[in-house]
Symmetry: C2
Subunit: 214 residues, 2 copies
């Protein structure tokens, strides 16, 4: 890429970035192309040079979020190992992706199916949930997860935790991304009281190996 191109203020990707921040702040319905132009510091005409309109910018944003999510399914951690290992890997990656593409995820979480591209995005998101629910079912079959958990329900609640990041997570704030990812994984697999149960297990184990009296 020559320097002239690299220094161009906005290409379609840069413009999509700006538009997504505007949509995330004002809501897609509340945001106008004037808002996007103002946030980008260019004219509406300059935007229309790149893209047909607000809907096209939304579609690009939704695709980014969904491509990032589906991309995780292709990674070796999601393909190799036992079902519970792959599930563990995917929950971690979904939390990481959520923090990576927060503005994209914000619009994805909020679409209500008002247009063809919104409905397609909702369908793809559900397909992703189903792919992960299949892993929960496999992990149940392996005995790693109790069978009295409803796989789809569990997946929706766990991704609900991840999606909630769009409501309250502020990049650069008190909580660093790795701490948030760790908390999501820990809650999803071990719950709040995990440490305590592990302490109980440790105490039982110690008694087994004779470190403590009974």
């Amino acid at each position: 890429m020559n320097e002239r191109v690299a220094r161009r203020p906005y290409d379609l990707d840069g413009l999509t970035d700006v538009a997504l921040r505007v949509f995330a702040e004002r809501g897609f319905d509340g945001a106008t192309m004037d808002d996007v132009a103002a946030a980008a510091g260019i004219t509406k005409a300059a935007i229309y040079h790149h893209v047909s309109g607000k809907e096209a910018l939304l579609t690009r944003g939704l695709s980014r979020a969904l491509d990032a999510l589906f991309g995780t399914l292709e990674e070796s951690g999601a393909r190799d190992g036992s079902a519970i290992e792959r599930l563990h890997y995917l929950v971690r990656r979904v939390a990481e992706v959520a923090l990576d593409v927060l503005p994209e995820l914000t619009v994805l979480v909020r679409v209500r199916g008002n247009s063809a591209s919104e409905r397609e995005a909702i369908a793809r998101r559900r397909a992703f949930d189903r792919a992960v629910a299949v892993l929960v079912r496999e992990a149940q079959h392996d005995g790693a997860i109790s069978r009295d958990v409803d796989p789809s329900l569990a997946v929706r609640l766990i991704f609900g935790m991840c999606n909630s990041l769009v409501e309250w997570y502020r990049p650069g704030g008190r909580l660093a991304p790795p701490a948030v990812v760790e908390a999501v994984v820990r809650l999803a697999f071990d719950g709040l009281t995990a440490g305590r149960r592990n302490d109980t297990m440790q105490s039982l184990t110690n008694r087994l190996v004779g470190k403590e009296g009974s």
Copy 2:
């Protein structure tokens, strides 16, 4: 209440119900008073007889959701017992309340602070989160929850699960409310792999009491 009043097609509460459904479906910014009038089957003039406008209907909806949440803090289960017991009670009640006031919670989850009443709602919601985070901290002090969990983060993620109900839960569908509430409580406290760790503990316990060889 005499029969004439009881049979009036809409009072302010009934109108708020209709408006919340419209806001939840179309988004508050996307919804118009014409939409509310159409959904109620009455004229806009008849609506303005009851209420000053869209903002006032939103404010009433937000108050309902927040009053229901804060109401749980006054219940005896949230006031008596150890911190972990009170926390357990509250997570269950928040999940129940979420399903009880789903349209109200939908608008609450989606407000972005565009008006004074939206900002007040966000402040009250944060105050509720803080009240519950205090309980997590007390439970850590009691040793019921590991100290390496960040209380505010844990509360936000757990309520993120509850709030996600507004995105995907459909009343009258496959999942009955009690099953959803149970899944939320289970994931929050024990995580996905809880049943399995309990099996491990049971096996360790059995070895301690001599039911199995080493």
